[in-house]
Subunit: 327 residues, 2 copies
């Protein structure tokens, strides 16, 4: 029997979940739920579209609801709300608010007898897992996370709000020398500026003061002032041609020491290079939906993260197959 | 209360476990067990040494027994034997025989009401986990494993058996062009020869026929004939000075595609660079001992692998700490 998936919210992430579910023979898409007018929305796979309010009447048709809203305002409300009625998975990524989001969702899922898995994706998600594994194996060591090269949506939006800017794309790029220093095992103390640079591609309005725009960007508090930031002015045509993708990725590098007196050094490095940040995140969400389904069938309830999931639960293969083919 | 660890077998791996346990504040070393004369053996931490036969009388003093024997002859007997009496962890690494070893150990551990975790280390172990995670997230893709640069003990031994060879060290090295081809996402078909080269450092006896030794190495079936092999003759002094370490490592690279028509490519890369192959393996064994202890406390029994372990169980940190610090 297939795992029946519901998608709540149909932006980049929801569409990515739709693609990923299509590629999983053990799953089927039961429906897409939207706050927009359902008839205004055409899904790629012709899956049925329902109004978000219709979800609660479909509890017996959906095994796992994947929540594809944003972390700023959607998920803090939606995840605890739906965790009462469905097994749910979300990609909540506001790191500082994870403990609160976990507590809210845990209480709701336990009341409903459901399993909720929060903060799936790559960071939080696969990067978090790699920090945990590496730290558990080499406790006398240090983990470093670098992001990029990739598009930062929040920083791109911040540039777009500057007067005279028509469109903008911001890339976060790890500093190669910082990566090398970390890999060397020297456990360097690195400032914000030493770890990443920011590269901005901006389409300015005709007649706009480009130098004023550049100054507004590089001095912007929180977003840019602590980084070495480069601003490139390009045409709308170049923007469309060269910067329409949403690539991202990065590195988790952990170095640690073992031996009688720490005489041996080790480097554990995990790297992602993603053509599509939302589609990769969606693919993690879908694997987590499989795990959540199994955990609920086992009788578990409450809020989980990838830290709590036996890795085998993410795979459609049996224990025997995994041991024979992958161990 | 500390987790009380026993070490069965005191070679490179057992000593590595001793170092790793010393570095874990939540653990203590209850004893080292050996088939040699106990009084002949001096442990680094002055832990007590017992004859292997004394182990069974110490069941109430040991929470997890870490089995540090070899995969060829020790572990196939020891792991099922001790799994009846102790929670155990081993590093069984004969990939083809894992299903059989699992079945034997599972039956024994279930009879004894214990938890056994087999095939911990880096391959099998952390590399296996990365193959599983990557394949579950990006099922439309392919995983490649490369080993090295590192010392292959079995291949070094094979060279030492050639007449006229006094000492030898063999390094396995991934072919850079193969790594690049895999990272490109082209999913190349790679032959054995295209993936790795073998680099041999040999000390020849005085007057030995070096060309004959070289020929014997490069044409050796199974070990070398399918590889591009380079032989360097060096002095015993150079061997001691430059080749006394046991470094190893390698790469698991998975590429996969997502999107409506697979239009987006992704690369997941996990890399290890280890100064000491046995000490890193030992560090994984010790983290697994923590997980095994917790799984038994929960009421689980039987044989497990890293695929079955919720990652959080490997870490001494609490769920709250992990979510706040690492997620």
């Amino acid at each position: 029997m297939s795992i029946r998936i519901g998608i709540m919210g149909y932006g980049n992430l929801g569409r990515g979940v739709e693609y990923a579910v299509k590629g999983c023979p053990d799953m089927e898409l039961a429906g897409v739920f939207t706050r927009r007018a359902p008839e205004s929305l055409q899904t790629v796979s012709s899956a049925p579209v329902y109004a978000a309010e219709a979800a609660l009447s479909m509890q017996d048709k959906i095994d796992v609801m994947i929540l594809c809203g944003g972390s700023a305002t959607d998920l803090p409300e939606q995840t605890p709300y739906y965790a009462r009625y469905f097994n749910v998975v979300d990609s909540f990524d506001t790191h500082a608010k994870i403990p609160e989001h976990f507590a809210d969702t845990d209480a709701a899922a336990k009341e409903g007898g459901k399993v909720a898995l929060i903060s799936a994706g790559w960071d939080p998600g696969m990067f978090s897992l790699n920090r945990l594994y590496a730290g558990a194996i080499l406790p006398h060591g240090q983990s470093y996370t670098f992001w990029g090269k990739g598009v930062s949506q929040g920083h791109s939006d911040a540039i777009r709000r500057i007067p005279g800017v028509v469109d903008a794309r911001q890339y976060t790029i790890p500093v190669p020398e910082a990566l090398e220093a970390v890999r060397s095992g020297s456990c360097p103390e690195l400032t914000t500026r030493q770890k990443h640079t920011r590269d901005c591609y901006v389409v300015a309005a005709e007649g706009a003061d480009k130098e004023a725009i550049r100054q507004a960007i590089v001095t912007m508090p929180n977003y840019f002032v602590d980084y070495d930031t480069t601003v490139h002015f390009i045409s709308m045509e170049e923007m469309r041609r060269d910067h329409s993708g949403i690539p991202h990725g990065g590195f988790v590098i952990h170095t640690g020491r073992t031996g009688k007196d720490g005489e041996h050094g080790h480097v554990i490095e995990y790297r992602l290079q993603l053509d599509s940040n939302p589609e990769f995140t969606s693919s993690v969400l879908v694997a987590c939906a499989r795990a959540v389904y199994r955990m609920e069938k086992e009788g578990q309830t409450g809020c989980k993260t990838l830290f709590d999931v036996p890795p085998a639960y993410l795979s459609p293969k049996s224990g025997e197959e995994l041991r024979a083919e992958m161990l």
